[in-house]
């Protein structure tokens, strides 16, 4: 009962402005029947999930169908998030901001049958491909809730196919900006908006197909919500929705109260923005925790940059929540209640909170890296709970152009897969980043539908950061282009600044991009847009993930297993871990290993284990690998 008692005392202070500015009375009453509430809570989350499934089943594009880059949600009558059917943590925080914008523009100027559409990053959106569709849900004349969907669309126009380019320098180059507008007014479609969209996107068939998927999801939500209201009555439904939010707040606060109080900071760098090459971009976070309240402060983060990797505040919030949610117990509903307990600050005009005319199409990168930065800070706070840096979040690859009949094609792929090592186990090999739980495209489906052939999709040895627990092993993907000519656009990172290792763990290997690896093997930068011709092969190798703990403490049997599986060469096993592997008998020479480990330990001369490593520790550099060979 203690968390509840405390909540009653400081709930006004903690709930912050969010509630006060809409003037909603704060109710401390718990609903009378906890069982009915539990059933309602599950019902409303099921609706959000069913909306997500509706999009999944009815979408036209691969980026939704296979990558699942979309989210669905449910807000109360004031636009406060009640439930999010999450397929993508990166979208948590986006719906409230977008809803705020709708409420600001329209307030009570809405009626049954209205549907809102928007994507403007500077008016509630995230980046232009993410189009929001909202539908207010009514019971008679009373507005009860909003059905919310946000989907990443294949293309929204702009200078590069896919509307994802990282090297645009202002929002105006990135595509169609849609301010909060009524797509339907009292059930009547606004053809002007549809025509504007149709004439400004490369593949209207897919965009409209996906918009219809969003509308279908809203429709499903409307039907099911009506059933819920019919069952509980409008007053009880509203009370339950309020309680769902309060419940999440109570859970979040009681979980936060269990963490130590204090202040922790962490910094990390993005290589560059793809425009000002070689100019690193600093991310800096400070976590302040007192009692059951937490502040995530990004003051000190780099000013906004020319390249298209500027976040909106909503995405910075999502990244902050993502980091914290990962150390909180599972089962906390995703809604406004969580946001009340966790305050996120990021000054306007920084990469974490871009202002007009910041380009932001490829801002995903910054979001991913902010999550890693959060993990760094949380690792200082909770050394045994958080992982080292992963591959840096997904690499975005778009290949677009026109075929011989001038029919456009766009292939958009987001791929990532190496998790940083954890204080209790190795990093995962081939698993999505926490911020974007995206599925991969099936290779065979890609080849059947796009003028692309995949030549490789496999792990690359000797790239994972060493440690007591090693970082995840990265993979490479080789794309062969089959049309006459097309545009290849790539957003990757972790080339100059490698994924850090924690508490003695080594950093992972940098990422790599090549053109035609079998022939000229030209090294390509991390971020670029270029013309590709028929037969050109683009190779991307993910960065290796960082390790955790002293590599000399790694179980030799685990090292042997990696060597046996060709994820680690015998030479690197010796250099990084001091382990002698006999590849004829597949065994470890224990005596030689103990001796070698002692040598490394002395040569290394650590007085204390380094908390964060961004470079190879002395004596473990790649030079030693050659010496051992």
């Amino acid at each position: 009962m203690q968390p509840c008692a405390r909540l009653a005392v400081d709930s006004f202070a903690g709930r912050g402005q969010a509630l006060q500015h809409v003037g909603m009375p704060v109710s401390h009453e718990s609903p009378k029947d906890p069982i009915a509430f539990e059933l309602f809570k599950n019902a409303i989350f099921s609706i959000a999930d069913e909306m997500a499934l509706t999009v999944f089943r009815t979408t036209y594009s691969g980026v939704l169908k296979d990558n699942m880059d979309y989210s669905t949600g449910f807000a109360d009558s004031d636009g406060k998030l009640v439930a999010q059917g999450l397929t993508l943590p990166g979208h948590l925080g986006s719906v409230p901001t977008a809803m705020d914008s709708i409420m600001r523009h329209y307030g009570n100027d809405m009626a049954p049958g209205d549907v809102f559409i928007m994507n403007d990053p500077f008016d509630g959106g995230m980046h232009l491909p993410d189009i929001f569709v909202f539908k207010p849900l009514y019971h008679g004349d009373r507005r009860m809730a909003f059905a919310c969907t946000v989907c990443h669309h294949t293309d929204v126009g702009g200078r590069v196919a896919g509307s994802n380019a990282s090297d645009s320098t202002e929002i105006y180059a990135e595509g169609l900006r849609i301010a909060p507008l009524k797509l339907y007014e009292a059930g009547k479609l606004n053809k002007t908006i549809m025509t504007f969209i149709e004439k400004n996107v490369r593949i209207p068939v897919k965009v409209f197909g996906d918009l219809r998927a969003q509308l279908a999801a809203c429709h499903i939500a409307e039907q099911q919500f009506a059933e819920l209201v019919a069952k509980h009555g409008p007053d009880e439904t509203a009370a339950f929705m309020r309680e769902t939010v309060d419940y999440a707040e109570r859970l979040t606060r009681s979980a936060l109260a269990n963490l130590p109080d204090g202040e922790w900071s962490f910094e990390d760098w993005i290589d560059d923005d793809g425009v000002d090459y070689g100019k690193p971009i600093r991310l800096f976070v400070t976590i302040r925790k007192t009692g059951d309240h937490m502040v995530v402060d990004w003051t000190g983060t780099n000013p906004q940059v020319k390249g298209a990797i500027n976040n909106t505040l909503s995405f910075t919030k999502a990244a902050s929540y993502c980091g914290i949610r990962s150390v909180l117990p599972p089962g906390i509903p995703n809604n406004e209640g969580v946001f009340r307990a966790i305050e996120v600050i990021c000054p306007p005009g920084t990469v974490g909170n871009g202002v007009l005319p910041a380009a932001c199409a490829a801002r995903g990168l910054t979001g991913f890296r902010m999550v890693d930065c959060m993990f760094g800070a949380l690792a200082m706070m909770l050394p045994d709970k958080v992982k080292a840096a992963g591959d840096g979040g997904n690499t975005g690859i778009s290949i677009g152009g026109y075929d011989a009949e001038r029919k456009p094609f766009i292939y958009v792929d987001f791929t990532c897969g190496a998790w940083g090592a954890r204080p209790w186990s190795d990093g995962l090999d081939g698993n999505s980043h926490m911020m974007a739980n995206m599925a991969s495209h099936s290779i065979e489906v890609t080849e059947a539908e796009e003028p692309i052939q995949l030549l490789a999709y496999e792990f690359v040895a000797d790239k994972a950061g060493a440690g007591k627990y090693r970082g995840g092993v990265p993979f490479r993907r080789d794309y062969r282009f089959l049309e006459e000519e097309g545009t290849l656009q790539v957003r990757s990172d972790r080339r100059d600044f490698r994924p850090f290792g924690l508490y003695g763990g080594s950093p992972g290997a940098p990422s790599e991009n090549y053109l035609n690896p079998q022939a000229e093997n030209k090294i390509l930068p991390g971020k670029f847009t270029m013309i590709v011709k028929k037969g050109d092969i683009f190779r991307h190798v993910l960065a290796g993930a960082g390790g955790w703990g002293d590599p000399l403490e790694r179980d030799p049997a685990a090292v042997l297993k990696d060597v046996r599986n060709e994820l680690l060469s015998p030479a690197k096993a010796l250099a990084d871990y001091g382990v002698f592997v006999d590849t004829a008998k597949w065994s470890v020479d224990a005596v030689a290993t103990a001796k070698r480990r002692e040598e490394i330990r002395r040569a290394r001369g650590w007085t204390e284990t380094p908390k964060v490593q961004r470079h190879d520790p002395p004596g473990l550099a790649s030079g030693t690998v050659k010496a051992a060979e």
Binding site: G430, N431, S432, I443, E444, A448, Y457, F459, D478, E566
Partner: protein, 376 residues
Amino acid sequence: MSAIGNYRVGVDIGGTFTDIVLLGADGTLHTKKVSSSVGNYAEAIVEGLSELFHETGLAGAVIEEIRHGTTVASNAILEHKGARVGLVTTKGFRDVLEIRTLRMPRLYDLAWEKPAPLVERYLRQVVDERVDARGRIERALDPKDAERAVDALLAEKVEAIAVCLLNSFANPRHELMIKEIVERKAPKLKFSISYEVLPEIKEYERTSTTVINAYVMPIVASYLRAMRTGLDGAGIPARLLLMQSNGGLTSDTAAAERPMNIIESGPAGGVVGAQALARAKGLPTLRIVLGHALRAAALPLVSYLGPALAAILTGSLVVEQIFGLPGIGRYFVQGALNRDYTLVLGVLICYAALIIFLNFLADIIYGLLDPRVRLT
């Protein structure tokens, strides 16, 4: 005492108990519960049956068939106690099985562990070949390369080999080449070929299914063999049928070839059991069959019959011609031969209307049949 072959036996094996039900054609029912014989599950079945025979005075020959649901395959997967499998796949795609689809089933879970792949990386061999998405061979498989891959796996003493090459659903030639090599080099070894197991697009799903099939093959085969031997020894010549994941039955020899089909036999048996229970509770069989089973089964039929009916009505020219039946198809052809354009046009409009109407009808029937479709 009784005529031959009018008893049926149902056997379900759990980790602790083995349940046996003996059902006579006249409705007589005998049941037996014995401790499961872990290691050789067949023992408990044979033993339980012998006891039943002893109690009832029946002989093995009265049994017509034995129907059996087993968790032996799913247990092997869950406990990672299946065969040591080697996988042959296309060069560049060695890790499809392990990378899976990247996505994890939970969000914000730092402690998530991916399930270990059923084939470790060093047992995954690649061959240099390539079939494109349309099934054209871009890079022919060198038999020597295939032999090398198979030899390497045999040297690792694998107990089964799975083969899944990229785009093999469109052209299985290379997979069949490898199959032939495996058969030649290790005639007794179990193998599973993706084209034979699941010839469908999507490499991860196909690879995974093929590997699982190979993974449980030796265990299921020896299990079924032991059971057959035990039954024969006890003088029970009845055929052995196994419950499949789809609720149907399959013979023991077929199950040994495609053990992937019996993995979910338990839950499937539950569904069949629910039907039996509904019947026992007094729901008329007609209602179960028409209202529940057939209604669901009719869905694909309706979607096919709609357009098919239109095709029959409009395209039966030959039949009409031969049998001298007056029909719309013949009418149309005659109109065309007589250059009666108005008639041709009219018939065409009729055709189109018919097709549209029948498709529409199919959609309506769909709405009536499928409980998931709701009209608002």
